[in-house]
């Protein structure tokens, strides 16, 4: 499989990364080079093989359903580019 300029722009859009025309054009051969190379995985016979889900067998733990942290609003907001009235502030989303 290979990507063209339209696909690269679409994927960059999905990844929420603004790319210029020139950047997108440069990415087309780069990504195609990597994609061609990873395509060799297609030759591996994986019949009946389960995809890896946990690299070291480890049972997921459950914990008591109790609040064990919180009350740290100011610490959570400490690195916000813009915090107002105890909230993260973003550009207006509803007209």
């Amino acid at each position: 499989m290979s990507v063209d300029l339209t696909t690269v722009k679409k994927i960059a859009g999905l990844a929420r990364i603004a790319v210029s025309e020139a950047e997108a054009e440069a990415m087309v051969p780069e990504l195609n080079g990597i994609l061609q190379w990873v395509e060799q995985l297609g030759e591996v016979n994986v019949t009946g093989v389960e995809p890896m889900t946990a690299v070291i067998p480890n049972k997921l733990r459950l914990r008591e359903d109790i609040v064990n942290d919180g009350n740290m609003r100011d610490r959570v907001l400490a690195n916000a580019p813009q915090a107002e009235h105890g909230f993260f502030a973003v550009p207006k989303v509803i007209e």
């Binding site: 990873v38 591996v44 995809p51 070291i56």
Partner: protein
């Protein structure tokens, strides 16, 4: 007397306990080396005051008889570990100025053990790279130079390139590293030092800036095997805040060190002996085999038939996980925000991520987004995870025949900065021998094995079964005792 900065972690710990020197002496000596090594660019943030504060505490603790395992030992912290109140950037413009309000599990454990912090070590941006050239804060330059008088600046390896350069240049006796696909072992090999990545889950990922969560694992980098054991003991441990943290006691790896390998079997994977493999790498590998035989081990040939697929599988799985993990950098909660005039929320996300991420990070996010996108998920991601299962099975089968595996760490010695940076695939191939163990979550370490014809270090890699750190360390020690690796970079910085 040996300079304090030439001592190992064990020597600092023991000499300090005996009263040969104060912790302040040690911290001041390393602080001076750090301050004078700007040309290496190994540190993003220097914290001499924190190293001194820990040292003064250690001196008080010694007087009071309340010493801790790492009292008096200053270390470097890879800038991927969140450190409370100290900038933690992952070497990305995206996180420039980010000062965590909490401490990572691993760094907290090291400070609680008495260690002090000399500073935050440079790395590839978000740990994505094999040469430390993708850092927003500039390349790290290896202290090593070729022996033929060529002064070309060399790569310290990556992503833990600040850690490897700083240890090799005696700016710190030990440092933390993280390994996603070789980021501890490859830089250790390139700089003539020792580095271990433990079994996945030994070290909590809590507070480590995420790259690819199913692969990311913290580990130790130092001058020798004993120091790696000491560091790892003080980094590992169960943490309920990491869902994949192993609920197991931490073994006493230092006390368990033994280089007598009588009755042990060492597997040598024929599949790693690829056509065109560097002659120096083959020579050092063969010497390593002879050293382990000399230590009493039996050598058995093994096969890891899916090895050649490890790297392509990695370059699907790691970018896929990275694209998900790095979705959090949106200009809202922390880090950079780029808000062009009149931009709406979606524009802000895209502008922020365009401005905050470097080219390699963007390439991997876009690659990861593509392989996870509708219609391609099974062809790429599911296929890669099935191949990963097969790679894991290869190792399981091999460990029925042997206790540890011996292989080269890298396919060559280090290279000049800029030499591979225009070709992502050439750069990725650096990790061809390191990635399989990462995909299988296995403990693996690199120890110095010898010197290339250009006078540059080469590493030998030991891979163990899950939870087999002790066997890995012991085989590493057997090599260390026989390799007699004393080469060190001549100071030019």
């Amino acid at each position: 007397m040996t300079a304090l900065t030439d001592l190992t972690v064990a020597q600092i710990r023991d000499g300090f306990r005996k009263g040969d020197f104060s912790a302040r002496n040690v911290a001041e000596a390393f602080n001076a080396n750090v301050a004078a090594a700007g040309a290496l660019n190994a540190f993003i943030v220097e914290t001499p005051e924190l190293a001194l504060a820990a040292a003064d505490q250690a001196d008080k603790d010694r007087a009071a008889g309340t010493l801790r395992p790492l009292s008096g030992v200053p270390i470097g912290m890879k800038d991927l570990f969140c450190t409370e109140g100290v900038q933690t950037s992952a070497a990305s413009h995206m996180l420039e100025g980010f000062k965590p309000t909490y401490e990572s599990f691993v760094s907290r454990k090291l400070w609680n053990a008495g260690a002090g912090m000399l500073g935050k070590l440079n790395l590839d941006e978000f740990a994505m790279g094999s040469s430390n050239e993708t850092s927003y804060f500039g390349k790290v330059v290896s202290p090593w130079r070729r022996s033929d008088g060529d002064d070309a600046p060399l790569a310290p390896g990556g992503s833990s390139g600040g850690s490897s350069a700083a240890i090799a240049a005696r700016l710190c006796p030990a440092a933390t590293g993280t390994d996603t696909g070789g980021s501890i072992r490859q830089p250790a090999a390139f700089t003539g030092i020792t580095g271990i990545k433990p079994t996945y889950g030994r070290c909590s990922r809590w507070g480590i800036i995420a790259f690819a969560s199913s692969l990311d694992q913290a580990g130790a980098m130092a001058h020798d095997v004993r120091d790696c054991a000491i560091m790892l003991e003080n980094m590992a441990g169960f943490d309920p805040r990491d869902a994949t943290s192993l609920e197991q006691p931490v073994p006493q790896w230092e006390a368990g060190l033994s280089s007598n390998l009588k009755g042990k079997r060492v597997g040598v994977p024929s599949d790693y002996r690829v056509d065109g493999l560097d002659a120096d790498v083959i020579r050092v590998w063969d010497e390593g085999i002879a050293w382990l035989k000399d230590a009493g081990a039996e050598i058995v040939e093994i096969t890891l038939p899916h090895s050649k697929y490890a790297l392509p599988a990695y370059y699907i799985i790691a970018p896929a996980e990275a694209s998900s993990n790095l979705a959090r950098y949106d200009g809202v909660r922390y880090g950079l925000r780029d808000l062009p005039d009149g931009a709406n929320l979606q524009d802000m996300y895209a502008a922020t991520r365009a401005a905050g991420f470097g080219p390699e990070v963007k390439r991997r996010i876009i690659m990861g987004t593509y392989v996870l996108s509708a219609g391609f998920y099974d062809a790429y991601y599911t296929q890669a995870q099935k191949v990963r299962t097969l790679i894991s099975r290869d190792f399981a089968r091999a460990f029925e025949q042997c206790d540890v595996i011996l292989a080269p760490t890298t396919p060559s010695a280090t290279f000049a900065l800029g030499e591979n940076s225009s070709d992502p695939l050439a750069m990725y191939l650096n990790d061809v021998f390191a990635v399989p163990a990462s995909l299988a979550g296995l403990p693996a370490m690199s120890v110095p094995g010898g010197i290339s014809k250009d006078g540059l270090p080469l590493g030998l890699q030991i891979i163990g079964p899950a939870f087999g750190e002790q066997a890995v360390l012991n085989a590493g020690l057997a090599i260390e005792e026989r390799a007699g690796f004393t080469a060190r970079p001549e100071k030019w910085w």
